[in-house]
Symmetry: C2
Subunit: 212 residues, 2 copies
């Protein structure tokens, strides 16, 4: 998501990729950037920032991007973006990552599939979260998650929601509003969104997880 | 945590309490304030905000509180506060709430204790998270979580970390830096921090969970 945001806003950067399953990020050099050794993290002008949402807010300030990405003047519009960004950690990221881990990452590490009833339970949690995007966040003809224009909430939301595709789960199925919204996010960030999706497709094929 | 922040900054408010285990918050009136019917949520001047962290950021802007609570001018100081606030969802709140649910809330609902091996696993997760506060966030003589002065990150962090006390777990034990930091947060927000703790103590006795 940081990659898409940097590209869309024409912010120059050099990237480093790490294959997480090979623990390429587990080294002293990266620890200097992020003491927790987690991706993504940025180094900008001698200052390091970790946590995707904190990075995106920092980039909005430092690079004076268009106001719709993270409203500066309109306190209420900013609160709406903040609500989603805080809500998503435990209500989108947590269930989606739990499913990804049980479905693909643990089996890769252990050589054993997760129990079907465990996967079914985790898929139900994931379905419930995506249904909340469909029925609550995108209710009443919403164009984007938190307003009429795209914000960093949409980039964070869409990128997370595309991830289960890596393990063959289609988040759009049976969710017309979510599907139309993902199309709008892709169009508003084209061609960088598709670029990132191509990297995701490679993950499906390669079974490696150097995503962010 | 919203309560402490409002009190410390002298922001006038009327409060509504709901006994969550009795599902008192599960009604149409509260749904108008927060469509997800979760606490905390605020209504201010005809505008509703949900999610603790979004609420605290909103209050900092609207009530022009002292800059140290959430630095406005110093982008790097703001990024440090943001890092903690984003990190804590999955790294503090998630393991602490998981333990609380398994230890107290599920047994209250079902009348059955959680399996000891499940509780042991969840306590290990909670210990690991608190050790990261002790050894990483509070390293190198740190006074507060993200700087030399108290911020909303400290209020969010301290309030979450006090919660397991409700079920007899002492987060301070074996963690001198965390313990001294909790004392500093309590002192900086006195007497409102102690007020909130008294409410927490009542929970321990009453076994009801209307905390926020």
């Amino acid at each position: 998501m940081v990659y898409i945001f940097l590209r869309v806003n024409g912010i120059p950067f050099e990237s480093r990729s790490y294959q997480l399953v090979k623990r390429e990020h587990d080294n002293a050099e990266f620890e200097k950037i992020n003491v927790f050794k987690k991706v993504p993290a940025i180094a900008h002008d001698g200052f390091n920032v970790m946590e995707s949402v904190a990075i995106l807010r920092y980039l909005c300030r430092e690079f004076k991007v268009a106001d719709h990405w993270y409203p500066r003047e309109d306190s209420r519009a900013q609160a709406r973006v903040d609500e989603y960004l805080e809500w998503q950690h435990l209500n989108v990221r947590k269930p989606l990552v739990a499913y990804l881990i049980a479905k693909a990452i643990l089996p890769m590490r252990t050589g054993q599939q997760s129990p079907p009833e465990e996967l079914e339970r985790l898929m139900k949690d994931m379905d419930a979260c995506l249904d909340q995007i469909e029925n609550i966040w995108l209710r009443d003809g919403a164009i984007f998650l938190t307003g009429q224009e795209i914000s960093i909430a949409d980039i964070v939301g869409a990128c997370e929601i595309e991830h289960p595709r890596m393990v063959g789960y289609d988040p759009r199925k049976g969710r017309p509003k979510l599907s139309a919204w993902l199309d709008r996010v892709a169009k508003a960030t084209s061609p960088h969104y598709e670029d990132a999706l191509v990297r995701l497709e490679k993950v499906v094929v390669k079974k490696s997880f150097d995503i962010d």
